[in-house]
């Protein structure tokens, strides 16, 4: 069973969101990295780009497949994890820590659309059947 930290919020498309003061950090879940397998390429957005909720904001590719990352909330990019560009496997090794993707400054408080850890765990379980 993959790990789903209680403190985070989740999207239906397998991103996680961590609130930190007035910004949020976004990554992909342990379940998502397991499904994709070894990651070999990450394409991140430029700073100051803005995204709507659900808009494609990054691309990650494993040996097996390419996956779009959908922005789980709307906001402006204030930081990207440049370490991933040379070492995409950080996402496999530490999806909730060193494998974070980007930091956003949210436009509005639309967190209520996101899932709790419990709801996300149920979603993963239901997708497995």
């Amino acid at each position: 069973m993959s790990s789903v930290p209680k403190a985070l919020k989740y999207s239906k498309t397998h991103e996680w969101v961590r609130e930190e003061d007035d910004t949020v950090i976004i990554g992909i879940t342990d379940h998502a990295q397991t499904m994709l397998g070894d990651l070999v390429y990450v394409e991140l957005p430029e700073l100051e780009f803005s995204f709507e909720m659900g808009q494609e904001c990054a691309v990650i590719e494993s040996v097996k497949a390419a996956a779009d990352i959908y922005c789980p909330i709307s906001g402006e990019v204030v930081e990207i994890n440049e370490l991933l560009l040379d070492n995409p496997q950080l996402i496999n090794e530490d999806p909730y820590g060193k494998g974070w993707l980007l930091r956003l400054r949210p436009f509005e408080n639309d967190f209520k659309e996101l899932l709790t850890a419990e709801q996300y765990t149920k979603l993963v379980a239901s997708e497995a059947h």
Partner: protein, 367 residues
């Protein structure tokens, strides 16, 4: 539930991620496909390839039969030697690619793909009608591949000194029988190594012995990136019944001489040569970052269009690489349609990697 090899329990014990492959429950990886890839390039890896189809042919006419059936010529073989060949239909299309081993004048062994099992056996039987031969599929056997630069030093403790010497003395594409083990110096990774056919009942014990000497289990995921780096075609992706060996970088496997050997597909290939072969299979190396994928469109300026037949990521080169079928006049560069963008790629003659290192990528001016 799919079909299972005699090593299925070994895979579960090694925590394999099991996936369906041509109806078989096979290990995709045992944790990390990339680590397994490097394991084979730098050390020694172990693959269960028991899903592949092993067929034995015996009888008075077996040489005559195989000379008719196969595009390469088994007259090139002496007992203990193997060759790689295609099996063609009358139109020159590739029914399958395979390795044929000559064991004696009236005994040959073919190893064909698992994905083509049913149609291959039907074709083999259909073509056998005019010949005095017996065809027997060997479902009682398992098959392992051990591949990598340190395989040779690691296997010494598993056999007697005399047996070890026989195995280490094997030349490329030669095989020897050691007790119940049929050991061939062949593989699908571009590294040194052996493929071993043995009784299914002994497979799991032997697997554990190989693991104990440090030859680590590797899954089909690594097998695919290894073979792609080595520039080896995959049936069903890089070739099928709609293309001929002449369009698949496999002209070297077709024996047109002697001219009186009338193998199936010969006249179609000669016609194609006369009319002019229009496509060729080449290697692509992505110039920027990213991963090439099967079926991406290839655009060659002023020449025409082609398609990627096997695209992936090369863990050894850290670049996107692919095999692609392109117009025969394609020179050294092209564009690939990737996720809505056109990106430049270099056209090279495979392999991309030879024995652990980047191959000298000859620019594709001559093929």
């Amino acid at each position: 539930m799919g079909k299972r090899t005699p090593l299925y329990e070994c895979h579960l014990q090694a925590e394999a991620k099991i996936v369906d492959f041509a109806g078989w429950d096979m290990p995709l990886h045992y944790g990390s496909q990339l680590q397994e890839h490097h394991q084979v390039r730098q050390d020694a890896g172990l693959f269960d390839v028991s899903h592949m189809t092993i067929v034995d042919f015996t009888g008075r006419d077996v040489s005559l039969y195989l000379k008719h059936l196969l595009a390469n010529n088994v007259d090139r073989l002496v007992p203990g030697k193997a060759l790689y060949t295609c099996m063609l239909n009358e139109q020159g299309g590739i029914i399958d690619d395979l390795i044929v081993y000559k064991l004696s004048e009236d005994f040959y062994r073919l190893v064909v793909n698992s994905g083509t099992h049913d149609k291959d056996l039907a074709w083999l039987a259909k073509q056998a009608k005019a010949f005095q031969i017996t065809i027997k599929e060997r479902t009682d056997l398992a098959m392992l591949a051990i591949q990598g630069p340190r395989v040779r030093q690691k296997i010494a403790s598993l056999f007697t000194p005399a047996q070890t010497q026989l195995i280490l003395d094997l030349k490329s594409f030669h095989a020897v029988t050691v007790d119940d083990y049929f050991v061939a110096r062949t593989g699908y990774t571009g590294e040194e190594g052996f493929e071993i056919i043995l009784p299914a009942s002994k497979a799991s014990t032997f697997w554990q012995q190989l693991v104990a000497v440090g030859i680590k289990p590797c899954g089909l995921g690594a097998r695919d990136t290894l073979r792609l780096e080595a520039g080896l075609n995959l049936y069903g992706a890089d070739m099928d019944e709609k293309v001929t060996p002449l369009e698949s970088n496999l002209s070297w496997t077709v024996a047109f001489e002697p001219a009186d050997r009338d193998f199936i597909g010969r006249s179609a290939l000669l016609e194609q040569q006369l009319a002019g072969v229009r496509y060729k299979l080449v290697g692509l190396v992505l110039e920027g970052q990213g991963v090439l994928r099967n079926h991406q469109k290839v655009i060659v300026d002023g020449v025409g269009e082609g398609e990627i037949t096997s695209g992936s990521f090369s863990p050894t080169l850290n670049k996107g690489i692919a095999l692609a079928r392109v117009p025969v006049n394609t020179k050294e560069s092209c564009l690939v349609g990737m996720r809505g963008k056109l990106v430049p790629a270099q056209v090279v003659k495979p392999p991309f990697v030879r024995q652990g290192k980047q191959a000298e990528n000859k620019k594709n001016l001559v093929i």
